[in-house]
Structures are given as C-alpha cells and as structure tokens.
C-alpha cells in the first residue's frame, strides 16, 4: 500500500463525502437521507485512518477517532430511525417535503 499516494486516498474520501452531500440534498425520502449521512461519516473515517497511517504511524489517535465515530454513528442512526418512525405515525409518510409544518 505504500505506493498508493496519500492524495489518492484523499480523493476517494472527498468524492465519497460530496456524494453523500449530494444525496443528502437531493433525496426525498428520510431513510435515504440517513443513508447519505452514513456515506458522509464513512468518508471521514477513511480520512482519519489514512492520515494516521501515512502521516503519524507512531500514534493511534486516528484509530480512536474512527472508533468513536463508529460508536456515535450507531447511536445516531438508531435515534434517527426512532424519529422517522414517530414521524411516519404522525404524517403517514416519510417524504421529507411533506413534513414542513414548522414554517412561517
């Protein structure tokens, strides 16, 4: 893996990140929005691991960050699902365009 330059890894993670951004803005379904958020988080994880491996091989900081991000992502997804289910019960739809009562 040493021949793969750091830049390529970073390209991978950035591309994944902005794919996630695009998906988050564009998808009309709450669950698919959640999936885009997962893409975002994973791209960040790749970034951390890459930097840890290439720039700071004597430390484990990147690994720990990744660990914590995975843990927090799990908690967040479960909470998000709970909220989506609640919204589904209230509005009978999970189309995010329909859920706009908190407006002017």
């Amino acid at each position: 893996m040493e021949q793969v330059p750091l830049a390529h890894l970073l390209i991978l993670s950035s591309a994944l990140f902005f794919l996630g951004i695009y998906g988050f803005f564009t998808r009309r379904n709450m669950i698919t929005m959640l999936m885009s958020v997962e893409l975002l988080l994973n791209s960040v994880n790749i970034n951390f691991i890459a930097f840890n491996k290439y720039l700071y091989p004597n430390q484990l900081e990147g690994i720990f960050f990744t660990l914590f991000i995975i843990a927090v992502a799990a908690a967040e997804v479960s909470l998000a699902i709970a909220i989506i289910i609640n919204l589904y019960r209230r509005f009978k739809t999970i189309d995010v365009e329909e859920v706009d009562t908190m407006k002017f």
């Binding site: 021949q3 564009t26 290439y54 430390q59 699902i81």
Partner: protein, 170 residues
C-alpha cells in the same frame, strides 16, 4: 505497480460506484443494499491499510447493525415496494453545483498542501495495542472518552425507546 495497489484501485472504484448508485437509485431497498456493498468495500480498504481491528468493527457495527436497522425501518414504514419520487430539477442542479464546487475546492487544497510525514518509528496497530491505549489514563490514554461514549450510548438507547414508544389511547 504491485498487485495490492491494483486491488486498492478496484476496491475504491467499487466503493465509489456503489455509493453513487445508492444515492441515485429510485428503489429504496436497492439503495440500502448498494450502501451495504459500499460499506463492505470500505472495510476492505481498511484491511489493505493493515487496520484489521477497524475493519472488523466496520463490518460488525455498520454492516451488521446499522444496515439491518435501516432495512427494518424500511419494512416498518411500508416503503419497500414503491418507486421513490424524483426530486425537482432545480434541486438537482443546485445540489450538484454545490457538491462539485466543494469537491474542487477540497481537492485544490489537498494538492496545494505539502503533507509532512513524521520520522518516528511506527507502532503496531494490533487490537492488543489499541486496547491497552484505550484503557490507559496516562498521556495519550482514552479511557475518559471511552466512558463518555458509553454514557452516550445509554442515553441514545433510552431516548430511542422514549421517542418511539406507542402511547395507547384510553
């Protein structure tokens, strides 16, 4: 070019392709499955970087937990069969524009930065070292965030139950 680099490029291409398909597809179940493959691909990248512990964690938690959760929620909200509506054209344009712009900005920053590697000796990234470091409360120890994350998980658990509980009307 050694074989590992070629494999790396193939796996990363797979990750990107599946990620894109997950974002673009109009069937919700398929999106979940594409995401699943994308995440497995990412686990593969971790393994190629010798971070097996993280790779294992990725598969265990992300693939085995989170994707399953998402699939459950798709079933619970009766969404599995229908096609998702297409978003507005204006929305697509604006979002694509912003994403592309952000990407170009980030890449330009990357290319202009000279990343300097440290010259110290590397540490083994085995699970044993990770465990030791995590429970260490000296310098570079992570026992404190570990405890906090456990609190967070407890709170998330209780919160999920509270939010999703069905109140029976009398």
């Amino acid at each position: 070019m050694s074989a590992s680099t070629i494999i790396f490029y193939i796996v990363s291409a797979l990750v990107l392709v599946f990620g894109a398909m997950s974002v673009f597809t109009r069937m919700i179940f398929r999106a979940a499955i594409y995401l699943l493959f994308s995440l497995i691909g990412i686990a593969g990248i971790y393994i190629m970087m010798n971070m097996d512990f993280i790779a294992a964690l990725q598969v265990l938690i992300y693939v085995g937990g989170i994707i399953v959760l998402i699939i459950f929620s798709i079933f619970l909200t009766h969404q599995s069969g229908d096609k998702l509506p297409k978003p507005l054209f204006k929305r697509i344009v604006v979002a694509a524009g912003m994403a592309a712009f952000g990407l170009i900005l980030t890449l330009s920053v990357f290319y202009q930065t000279a990343f300097k590697a440290t010259t110290e000796m590397g540490v083994d990234h085995s699970a044993r070292n990770i465990g030791r470091q995590m429970l260490d409360y000296h310098h570079h120890g992570y026992v404190y965030p570990f405890e906090i994350v456990s609190f967070l998980l407890l709170a998330a658990l209780v919160g999920c139950i509270v939010i999703a509980v069905k109140i029976k009307d009398k």
